[in-house]
């Protein structure tokens, strides 16, 4: 509770025992750490507002917004990039089909974010910064936010060049660069299975193991000893596990693509290609 009593410059010291009336006296004893909104909060907001206005005005005078050539539907620039805040998704598009990377994954991201308060039932950490009371929640969130989202935006902005190939910073963006890669499906790569039906079956089985079996194995192994899991309950656990495994599965597939040229884990009739 040390933070709460830190004195803010000019905010009054805690009111002494002598106060205006009996009610105010009792009140000041009950909530000793309250200060008036006016002037303390309002002037702080005014200050922050003034600084933000000043910064954005100076920035706007110094740096011009870009305006390229007029729109030409027949001429596509190379590379053709989405707005920077969507570059994370465009990056994932390299590794997954549009229906997954452009629709399913963003939906899971948004729904997953919304669901957080309902699956995080840890009462600790409410209203202060702390890592050790919330190790799992903070680690997973930092991974998802910094590694999966922010770093992909940075890669998409600075490292991806013409043809969506990787270019080191400072490297010349050669529009004619090509890299020859042959991608094969998971079953073919690791088990040598070429028949599409069998390949799809093995892929589906792997996904089932990843999403269905592994979480249940973990549950069975840790349930008895873990009070957290017991409080969480099966429904919340499943939601958490599915979201977690899908996020990790995305990372795993990226590694399989980059390291082993795996095209799809499972490819079925051109409709469900993961």
């Amino acid at each position: 509770m040390a933070d709460v009593t830190t004195a803010v410059a000019e905010a009054p010291a805690k009111p002494a025992a002598k106060a205006k009336s009996k009610v105010a006296e009792r009140l000041s004893k009950l909530v000793p750490d309250k200060v008036h909104t006016w002037p303390y909060l309002v002037r702080l907001e005014m200050l922050v507002g003034t600084i933000v206005m000043a910064l954005i005005t100076v920035w706007s005078i110094v740096v011009d917004a870009p305006l390229e050539e007029p729109a030409n539907p027949t001429k596509t620039p190379n590379p053709s990039k989405a707005p920077w805040y969507f570059l994370g998704l465009q990056e994932i598009l390299v590794y997954f089909d549009p229906w997954f990377a452009g629709v399913i994954l963003p939906t899971f991201i948004i729904v997953g974010l919304m669901v957080i308060p309902y699956i995080d039932i840890n009462p600790k950490g409410n209203g202060y910064y702390c890592f050790k009371d919330r190790k799992f929640a903070i680690s997973v969130f930092l991974f998802g936010f910094l590694v999966m989202w922010v770093s992909l935006v940075i890669i998409g902005t600075f490292i991806r060049g013409p043809g969506w190939y990787l270019f080191l910073p400072g490297q010349y963006w050669d529009v004619h660069k090509t890299v020859a890669i042959t991608n094969v499906n998971f079953a073919q790569k690791f088990f040598g299975v070429q028949d599409p039906a069998w390949s799809a079956g093995i892929g589906a089985a792997c996904i089932f193991i990843w999403l269905g079996v592994l979480p249940m194995v973990f549950w069975k192994a840790r349930y008895k000893k873990s009070e957290a899991l017991q409080k969480l309950g099966m429904v919340r656990y499943q939601i958490t596990a599915q979201l977690f495994m899908i996020m990790m599965g995305t990372v795993l597939k990226v590694f399989l693509r980059l390291g082993f040229n795996v095209k799809y884990i499972m490819e079925w009739k051109g409709m469900i290609n993961v």
Binding site: P12, P15, A16, K18, A19, K20, H36, T50
Partner: protein, 185 residues
């Protein structure tokens, strides 16, 4: 300067103190800066509302060679297109605006009665026989002042050119200013 009370308030503190402190001064500077920037911003917005380049339809038109117009005539050839009469006197041309100075309707030239007459409220303006100085002066009806005249020049190719953006008003004694008529004998 009275000190804060126990609850932190200071009712006797004024911003106009008999002896402002350095803190008051900096405060004045700060607020002065904020208000100045708001004021400048407002002025800048007003300036922003007047662009430097306007894309408006053209107001200069060529009207053909002077010999195409009968001497001593009021030509209504350009009424539909550009809303004025081109009047040829013995020694000059005058472009009389066909916008009634009462409420903006288009008058008619009545040759037999030698006057311009506005159908909306009956304003009447002097006709051809009153001469180049007086023509289109209001004499009856609610019109407050004479019909305006547009600037006339002779273009390089010998055509008469009217500039509707430049206007001459008889009630301001502008009938003899250069451009209010085109000398042509």
């Amino acid at each position: 300067m009275p000190a804060n009370k126990e609850d932190g308030t200071n009712p006797e503190g004024h911003i106009w103190r008999i002896a402002p402190t350095r803190r008051d001064f900096v405060g004045f500077l700060g607020w002065g800066a904020v208000l100045t920037s708001i004021g400048i911003g407002t002025l800048a917005w007003v300036r922003l509302m007047y662009p430097r380049v306007l894309f408006e339809p053209p107001s200069q038109f060529k009207l053909g060679k002077p010999i195409e117009y009968a001497p001593r005539s009021v030509a209504d050839k350009w009424i539909r297109a550009y809303r004025f009469w081109l009047v040829r006197f013995d020694d000059r041309f005058v472009a009389v605006s066909a916008t009634c100075t009462h409420l903006g309707c288009t008058p008619r030239y009545l040759n037999t009665e030698d006057k311009f007459k506005c159908p909306c409220h009956g304003s009447g303006f002097r006709g051809f026989s009153s001469g180049w100085k007086v023509i289109a002066t209001n004499f009856e009806g609610p019109a407050p002042r004479p019909l305006e005249r547009y600037k006339l020049t002779l273009a390089d190719d010998g055509q008469i050119q009217v500039e509707k953006a430049i206007v001459f008003r008889l009630d301001k004694d502008e009938s003899e200013k250069p451009g209010a008529f085109l000398p042509y004998a």
